[in-house]
C-alpha cells in the first residue's frame, strides 16, 4: 500500500465498493414484482454516489493554492497535527 497521499488506494476501494453495489447486488435481488425498481435504485444510487465522491477527490488532487490560516491556528496545529 502507498503512503498517505495517493489517489490509487481510495480509487480502488471506492470503485470496487460502488461497482459491487451497482453491478453485483442487482443479480442477488430475489425475483419478485419489485425487482426492476430495486435494481434501478441500486444502479442509480451507485452511479450518483460514486460520481459525487470522484468529483470531490479529483478536485483536491492537485490544489492550485493552499489554505490561509490564522496565526493562532498555526500555533496550535504545528504541534497537534503530525
Amino acid at each position: 500500500a502507498m503512503a498517505y497521499g495517493g489517489l490509487t488506494v481510495p480509487l480502488i476501494v471506492m470503485s470496487v465498493f460502488w461497482g459491487m453495489v451497482g453491478g453485483v447486488l442487482p443479480w442477488l435481488v430475489p425475483k419478485g414484482p419489485n425487482r426492476g425498481v430495486i435494481n434501478t435504485m441500486l444502479v442509480t444510487c451507485a452511479v450518483c454516489c460514486y460520481l459525487f465522491w470522484l468529483i470531490a477527490i479529483l478536485a483536491q488532487l492537485n490544489p492550485l493554492f493552499g489554505p490561509q490560516l490564522s496565526n493562532e491556528t498555526i500555533w496550535y496545529l504545528k504541534y497537534d497535527w503530525p
Binding site: 450518483c48 460520481l51 478536485a59 483536491q60 490544489p63 489554505p67 496565526n71 496545529l77
Partner: protein, 851 residues
C-alpha cells in the same frame, strides 16, 4: 419488470349485462375496483336517466339517516364507524332498510315530541309551585325563610301585605301572580307603577332554583312576582301588561287553605309527571341504542347502492331492452378478474345467462395506470403533480426515487442535519400503522406523513453528502488525518513565534515539499474548515460539481427519450432527433465536463500561476477568438474546439428540419402510392388523441398521425388534389412546432446548465447559515469554563436546537426540496417527458368519512 417504468396496457372494453343481474355485477366490480366506467349518456340530464327513481330513493334514505344522526348528536351519542364491510343490498334488503329506518325516525320523532311536551308541563307545574310558595311570604303573616324580598320604592312602606288587615277597607284585594324573566323586571315595575298609579302593591322575589327557558333552552333564575291590587280595571291593565312582557301568570287563590290544597295537588302531579318523564327518557334511550347499532351499516349500504345506480345510469340499453351495455377502460391484465366478477355477480343474482366482457379497439388514448406500493407512491405523486404520464410513455418516477433525494442532499449536505431528518422519517415509517398517525386531522402533518419514505431517503443521502462535504453541524471531522501539514510549512518557511505574532494570516503553499501530501481519501479535507479562504476553494469545487452533475442529469434525460422512440416505433426520431440532440449536448457541454476533469488532473501547484481559466476558454470557443494570456490546456485545443462547435451547429438544422422533411416525404409517398399496406399504418403510435400543445416533446407529428388512423383509407381513394391542400397546412404546423422544439432545446441546454448552479448556491447558503448559528449561538455557551458556564450552556443549547430545527431543517429543507423539484420538473423532464395523460380512476366504493 414492474409497471413503474411505463403505464400498463389499458384497453377499452364493453360489458354486456343482463338487466336482472346488472346490479349485482356492478356491485362485484365496485368491490374489486378494477374498471373505469365511461358515460354513454352524456347528453341526458340527471332527471331523465333510467334509474333516477332508485337514486332518488337512496337520497331519501340518506335524508332519514341524516335526521337520525342529528338526533344522536343532540343526545350526545357518538356514532362509531362501520366495523365490517357490508355489500350493497339487493332490492328486497334495501326495502327493508328503508322501512326500518323510517320507522325508527318516526318513533324518534314521536318520543321526542312527547318528551318535550312532558317537560314543558313539568316546568309549568314547578313554576306554579314556586309562585305559590314564595308568594305566601307576601300574603301571610309569618315571614318565611328564603331569599329576601326585593320590593322597591313603590312599596317601601309596607312590603308585607295581609288581606285581613285591609278587611275593613271596602275594597276586595285581588292577586296576580306569575313568573317573569329577570331582565324585564325593572321595566315591568316601572310600567306597572306608571300605568296603575300606585293602586297596586307588587313584590318580586327570585326563584330559589334556576329553570330552563323554553325558547332558548338556557337556565335562568326566574323572578316571581305577586301583585295585589283592587279594582277590576286595574286588574285588566295588569293582566295586559303581564301579557306584553311574556310573563307566565298563574291563578293565585285568595284563601290560605285553597293555596295549601293547590300546593299539595301540585306536588302529587309533579311526582307523577316525573315518573312518566323518566320512563319516556328510558324509552328514548332504547330507541337511540337501536339507531346506533344499525345506522353505520345502513349508511354504507345505501352509499354503495347509490353509487351503483349512478354507474348504471351511465350505461345504455340495447335494442331489445333486456341488456345493459357499459363501456369501460380496463387494464388488460385484469380482464380475467373482470370476467370472474361478472360470473359471480350473475350467480348471486340468480340469473342463468352470464354477463360477459369484450375488448373493443379504439383510436382514443387510454388513461394511464401505474401501480404503486406504499414506498413508490410518494415518488410517483411528485411526478404526477407536474403532469400525469401520457399513455405508455417513459415514467420518470423510478429514477426520481434516487435522483431526487440525491439532488436534495447536494443542497442540504450536513451529517447532523441529515441524521435528524433520517431519524424523524424513521420514526414515521416504523409507526406508520398507528391510527393516531395515519388519521390525524392536521393537513400539514399528513403531507409530511405521506412523504415519509421520501424524507427517509433524503435524510440518508444528506448524511452521505454531509460526509463528503465534511460538515457535521458545520464542524469538520478528521476521520482520516488531514493531508496538509502545517508543521512542514512552518519548518520550511521558518515560521518562528515572533514571525507568527506579526503576521495574523499566513497561507500554506502546496509547492513546498511535505506540505500537501495527497488528496483526502473521502470528502473535503478538514483543514479547509479552519481556513479563512475556504470559500475560494469550496466555491470553485461546488460550481464545477454542479455543472458536471447537471450535464450528466440532462444527458440521462435525453437518453431516456430513446425508450420512448423505441416503444412507439418512431425510428426516424432516433436518428433525426435523439442523435442531433445528443451531439449538441455532448459537443458543447460534454466537452466542458471534459475540460473540468482535465484541468483537475493535469495542472498542479507548480504551474498554478499560469493555470488557464476554463470559463475564458469556453467563451472563446463560442466566439472563435483566443486570448493570448490564457494558455491552452492541451496541444491542438483550438482546432478541436472549432470542430466541436461546427459539429454542434451542424446538428441544429438536422434537428430543425429532419423530422418535418421525413414526414413530408412519407406523406408524399402515401399519396402517390395508394396501395400501401395497411400494416404500415397500424404501426401508428399510440400517442394519438393527445393535445400536443402543452409540451415541447409531443411533436406535431403525434397529432398529425391521428388523421392517419381512421380516414387514411378514405384519403387514399379521394382525389390527390384535395388531400394536398390538407397536407400543406398540417405541414406548416409541423415545421413550426419543430422549430419551437429546436430553439427551446438549444437555448435550454445553455440556460438549464446554468440553472444547475443553484446546487452550489443552496449548499453554500446552508453551510453559511449553519456556521453562523454555531459561531454566534452555540459557541457562546462554551466561553465560560466554570460551573456557571455549564448552567449557561443549557439555555444556549436550547436556543441553538430550536433555531437549528426551525431554520436549518424546516426552512432550508423546504427550500432545497422545492429547488430539487424544480430541477426535476423543468431541467430534467424537459428533455423527454410529455406528461399529457390522465389517470385511470376505477369505480370503487370509498368509505365516507364521518365528519
Amino acid at each position: 419488470m414492474g409497471s413503474l417504468f411505463r403505464s400498463e396496457e389499458v384497453c377499452l372494453a364493453q360489458l354486456f349485462l343482463q338487466s336482472a343481474s346488472a346490479y349485482s355485477c356492478v356491485s362485484e366490480l365496485g368491490e374489486r375496483g378494477l374498471l373505469e366506467f365511461r358515460d354513454l349518456n352524456p347528453k341526458v340530464s340527471a332527471f331523465q336517466r333510467r334509474f333516477v327513481g332508485e337514486v332518488r330513493r337512496c337520497e331519501e334514505m340518506e335524508k332519514t339517516f341524516t335526521f337520525l344522526q342529528q338526533e344522536l348528536r343532540d343526545a350526545g351519542r357518538v356514532l362509531a364507524p362501520c366495523p365490517d364491510n357490508p355489500r350493497a343490498p339487493l332490492a328486497r334488503e334495501a326495502l327493508r332498510v328503508q322501512e326500518q329506518s323510517e320507522q325508527l325516525a318516526q318513533e324518534l320523532r314521536e318520543v321526542s315530541r312527547n318528551r318535550a311536551s312532558l317537560r314543558g308541563r313539568l316546568r309549568d307545574l314547578r313554576q306554579y309551585l314556586h309562585v305559590l310558595r314564595e308568594g305566601r311570604r307576601f300574603t301571610s303573616l309569618p315571614a318565611s325563610l328564603g331569599s329576601p324580598p326585593r320590593s322597591r320604592a313603590l312599596s317601601e312602606r309596607e312590603p308585607l301585605l295581609d288581606p285581613s288587615l285591609h278587611q275593613h277597607l271596602d275594597r276586595k284585594i285581588n292577586f296576580v301572580a306569575g313568573v317573569i324573566h329577570p331582565w324585564r323586571v325593572s321595566a315591568f315595575e316601572r310600567l306597572l307603577w306608571r300605568a296603575c298609579r300606585g293602586y297596586l302593591v307588587a313584590s318580586f322575589v327570585e326563584m330559589p332554583e334556576p329553570m330552563e327557558d323554553p325558547t332558548t333552552g338556557e337556565s335562568i333564575t326566574w323572578v316571581i312576582f305577586v301583585i295585589s291590587y283592587w279594582g277590576e280595571q286595574i286588574g285588566q291593565k295588569i293582566r295586559k301588561i303581564s301579557d306584553c312582557f311574556h310573563c307566565h301568570v298563574y291563578p293565585y287563590p285568595e284563601s290560605e287553605a285553597t293555596r295549601e290544597d293547590t300546593m299539595s295537588g301540585l306536588h302529587s302531579q309533579i311526582q307523577d309527571l316525573s315518573v312518566v318523564l323518566e320512563e319516556t327518557e328510558q324509552y328514548l334511550a332504547q330507541v337511540l341504542d337501536k339507531v346506533v347499532l344499525a345506522l353505520p351499516t345502513w349508511r354504507v349500504q345505501v352509499q354503495k347502492m347509490k353509487a351503483i345506480y349512478l354507474i348504471l345510469n351511465q350505461c345504455s340499453f340495447d335494442v331489445t331492452e333486456k341488456c345493459l351495455i357499459a363501456e369501460v377502460w380496463c387494464p388488460v391484465r385484469d380482464l380475467t378478474q373482470v370476467q370472474d366478477a361478472l360470473r359471480q355477480g350473475s350467480y348471486k343474482s340468480g340469473s342463468s345467462v352470464e354477463c360477459f366482457v369484450q375488448r373493443i379497439p379504439t383510436s382514443e388514448s387510454p388513461p394511464t395506470l401505474i401501480r404503486t406500493n406504499k414506498f413508490t407512491a410518494g415518488f410517483q405523486s411528485i411526478v404526477d403533480a407536474y403532469g400525469v404520464a401520457s399513455y405508455q410513455e417513459v415514467n420518470p418516477a423510478p429514477y426520481a426515487i434516487i435522483t431526487f433525494p440525491f439532488i436534495f442532499a447536494i443542497m442540504f449536505g450536513d451529517v447532523g442535519h441529515g441524521l435528524l431528518m433520517f431519524l424523524f422519517a424513521l420514526w414515521m415509517v416504523l409507526y406508520e400503522d398507528r391510527p393516531s398517525l395515519r388519521q390525524a386531522s392536521n393537513e400539514i402533518w399528513l403531507t409530511f406523513f405521506e412523504g415519509r419514505y421520501l424524507i427517509l431517503l433524503m435524510g440518508a443521502f444528506s448524511i452521505y453528502t454531509g460526509f463528503i462535504y465534511n460538515e457535521c453541524f458545520s464542524k469538520a471531522t478528521a476521520i482520516f488525518p488531514s493531508a496538509w501539514s502545517v508543521a512542514a510549512m512552518a519548518n520550511r518557511s521558518s515560521w518562528s513565534s515572533d514571525y507568527l505574532a506579526t503576521h495574523p494570516f499566513l497561507t500554506l503553499d502546496p509547492n513546498v515539499t511535505g506540505v500537501f501530501q495527497g488528496p483526502y481519501p473521502f470528502g473535503i479535507d478538514p483543514i479547509w474548515s479552519l481556513a479563512t479562504n475556504h470559500l475560494n476553494f469550496l466555491n470553485s469545487f461546488k460550481m464545477k460539481m454542479s455543472v458536471v452533475l447537471g450535464i450528466v442529469h440532462m444527458g440521462f434525460g435525453v437518453v431516456l427519450g430513446i425508450f420512448n422512440h423505441v416503444h412507439f416505433r418512431q425510428w426516424h426520431r432516433l436518428v433525426l432527433e435523439f442523435l442531433p440532440e445528443m451531439i449538441f449536448l455532448l459537443a458543447l457541454f460534454g466537452y466542458l465536463v471534459f475540460l473540468i476533469f482535465f484541468k483537475w488532473i493535469k495542472f498542479t501547484a507548480a504551474n498554478s500561476l499560469v493555470a488557464p481559466s476554463i470559463l475564458i476558454h469556453f467563451i472563446d470557443m463560442f466566439l472563435f477568438t483566443s486570448n493570448a494570456d490564457n494558455l491552452p490546456l492541451y496541444q491542438g485545443q483550438v482546432p478541436v474546439q472549432t470542430a466541436l462547435v461546427v459539429l454542434a451547429l451542424a446538428s441544429v438544422p438536422v434537428l430543425l428540419l429532419g423530422t418535418p422533411l421525413h414526414l413530408w416525404c412519407r406523406q408524399r409517398s402515401l399519396r402517390s402510392s395508394p396501395a400501401t399496406p395497411v400494416a404500415a399504418r397500424e404501426q401508428e403510435p399510440l400517442l394519438e388523441g393527445q393535445e400536443a400543445g402543452n409540451s415541447v416533446n409531443a411533436t406535431k407529428e403525434d397529432v398529425e398521425s391521428r388523421g392517419h388512423g381512421p380516414d387514411a383509407k378514405a384519403r387514399d381513394t379521394a382525389a390527390a388534389g384535395s388531400g394536398g391542400r390538407l397536407q400543406h397546412s398540417d405541414l406548416a404546423e409541423i415545421f413550426m412546432h419543430q422549430a419551437i422544439h429546436t430553439i427551446e432545446y438549444c437555448l435550454g441546454c445553455v440556460s438549464n446548465t446554468a440553472s444547475y448552479l443553484r446546487l452550489w448556491a443552496l449548499s453554500l447558503a446552508h453551510a453559511q447559515l449553519s456556521e453562523v448559528l454555531w459561531t454566534m449561538v452555540m459557541r457562546n455557551g462554551f466561553v465560560r469554563l466554570s460551573y456557571v458556564g455549564g448552567v449557561v450552556l443549557v439555555p444556549v443549547f436550547a436556543a441553538f436546537a430550536v433555531l437549528t430545527v426551525a431554520i436549518l431543517l424546516v426552512m432550508e429543507g423546504l427550500s432545497a426540496f422545492l429547488h430539487a423539484l424544480r430541477l426535476h420538473w423543468v431541467e430534467f423532464q424537459n428533455k423527454f417527458y410529455v406528461g399529457a395523460g390522465y389517470k385511470l380512476c376505477p369505480f370503487t366504493f370509498t368509505p365516507d368519512p364521518w365528519e
